[in-house]
């Protein structure tokens, strides 16, 4: 059925990972000087940058909400982020992802603190190798914290899926394309609530439950990396000073 095996007999994947292992993640905070907050994430070969502006005056003004801030999100893939050049115009897929990313971040923010304003989140995919919507949410949540916007919790996102009959965590592009199903998931780990849950493919109820559990485990690992990254910005200064 499969032309190339993605998982070998001992349960090791094409890139050398175990089934329940994340790709190596690198996070950096405050990478853009002109944004109010920003973050950069490298998750395996996927590279995503997120920028946050606001809360600021919303234009056109008639769109502003009288009781809370408006959260606006743009998920965009750079033309050079994929093998075949992608048109820079927002595609149907990007528009959908902008919406689900917005809905994944919305519950974490105290929008009601700043009525009539807008908070703008820009997620730019620089290199895509699967899991970019999750990487985008992970980075955007950090960018919001970097911008000083009050949030209930960080949002951590990760996908899990079923590849060649086995449950795997954090799918690459190749694994995603060959998968029977994949489930991107975003959670607020301290509050234990899910903010994004999608599924592409077919699973039985039992399979679905195990995969969600696996994705939650991945999100929790990402959450601890997020915390360290946020702290690193300030801890580094402290270490230099105290030398």
């Amino acid at each position: 059925m499969f032309s190339r095996k993605l998982i070998d007999e001992s349960g090791i994947r094409a890139d050398g990972r175990r089934l329940d292992e994340l790709r190596p993640i690198k996070l950096e905070i405050g990478v853009l000087s002109n944004a109010d907050g920003s973050a950069y994430i490298e998750q395996g070969k996927s590279k995503v940058i997120a920028a946050v502006y606001g809360p600021r005056e919303l234009h056109p003004k008639h769109l502003s909400l009288p009781d809370r801030a408006m959260l606006r999100c743009r998920y965009h893939m750079a033309p050079f982020s994929v093998e075949q050049r992608k048109s820079p115009a927002p595609s149907r897929r990007e528009m959908e992802l902008s919406k689900v990313v917005r809905e994944a971040l919305e519950p974490s923010i105290f929008l009601e603190y700043y009525p009539r304003t807008s908070i703008d989140v820009f997620i730019e995919v620089l290199e895509a190798d699967g899991g970019t919507r999750c990487a985008g949410i992970t980075a955007a949540s950090l960018a919001l914290a970097d911008a000083g916007i009050p949030t209930r919790d960080l949002v951590s996102a990760c996908a899990a899926g079923k590849v060649e009959g086995l449950f795997v965590l954090d799918l690459t592009d190749a694994e995603d394309k060959a998968s029977e199903a994949d489930v991107p998931l975003a959670i607020m780990p301290n509050l234990g609530s899910i903010t994004l849950l999608q599924m592409d493919g077919m699973l039985t109820l039992d399979e679905f439950q195990s995969i969600v559990e696996l994705a939650v485990k991945g999100c929790k690992q990402i959450h601890s990396i997020q915390r360290e990254a946020l702290k690193a910005k300030y801890v580094a200064v402290k270490e230099v000073v105290e030398e």
């Binding site: 009288p66 700043y114 000083g148 301290n190």
Partner: protein, 234 residues
């Protein structure tokens, strides 16, 4: 009723700070009987109040604050001022002129034009309407000379120091006049460009190292060293 962090420990949004009979202060919120952090900052436990001194935040106007702003628009009845907040502030011409204001005769651009920096006071603000400014105290109005530095607004108390210890050190060592805007903008004007640069350097050092203790001593040391070097060069 446990608390989960040391005093002045670095926390990030979502960190569980305390559980039980506590009250959530600034940059913290309560869900059930648990208090969580809402911003990156240093946690403080004072009696039953748990709050976070934010390391990254933006300015939200408060009545009585002295702010430094930039005129972004001149309208019929007054000016629109950017005070580095989520909302643009309004300065009414009738509040600025000493005499009755006649829209047909008075030229507002002759008083403040677009791009001018002004020192003003917030006289009215709530979240339903934009902040209203006034320039009714001595020293307020258009800024004609000096340099403006921008820092995180929550670090202004750090620039002042305990009973003004920090700001007095900077003023003494550099001989500069320093006006603090509560919105994070600081006006530095001094006898020479060199001296102003020194004061700016000190302020930026405070901004960067605000969360590390012993800051006043380090700033004093740095300023005395720099001032000494400059004297020996002459």
């Amino acid at each position: 009723m446990p608390t989960f962090f040391e005093r002045r420990e670095l926390v990030v949004p979502g960190d569980l700070l305390a559980e039980g009979d506590y009250v959530a202060g600034d940059n913290a919120y309560k869900d059930g009987d648990r208090v969580y952090a809402a911003r990156v900052g240093l946690v403080e436990y004072e009696e039953r109040v748990v709050h976070v001194v934010a390391l990254s935040a933006f300015y939200v106007p408060r009545v009585g604050d002295v702010v430094i702003g930039k005129v972004v628009d001149v309208g019929m009845m007054g000016w629109i001022v950017d005070v580095n907040a989520p909302y643009l502030a309004v300065l009414r011409a009738s509040d600025v002129l000493e005499r009755p204001f006649r829209p047909s005769k008075d030229d507002l651009t002759a008083i403040y034009d677009v791009g001018d920096m002004i020192i003003a006071r917030v006289v009215a603000y709530d979240r339903t309407s934009d902040p209203l400014l006034a320039v009714d105290k001595p020293g307020m109005g258009k800024i004609t000379r000096g340099q403006i530095v921008e820092i995180t607004p929550t670090k202004i108390p750090r620039v002042i120091g305990r009973k003004g210890s920090m700001i007095n050190v900077i003023k003494r060592e550099t001989g500069c006049n320093i006006t603090l805007g509560q919105n994070g903008l600081i006006l530095v004007s001094g006898p020479s460009l060199e001296r102003e640069r020194l004061a700016v350097m000190a302020i930026l050092k405070i901004e960067k190292e605000s969360h590390v203790s012993g800051l006043t001593d380090r700033v004093t040391e740095m300023l005395q060293k720099e001032v000494g070097e400059r004297k020996s060069n002459v």
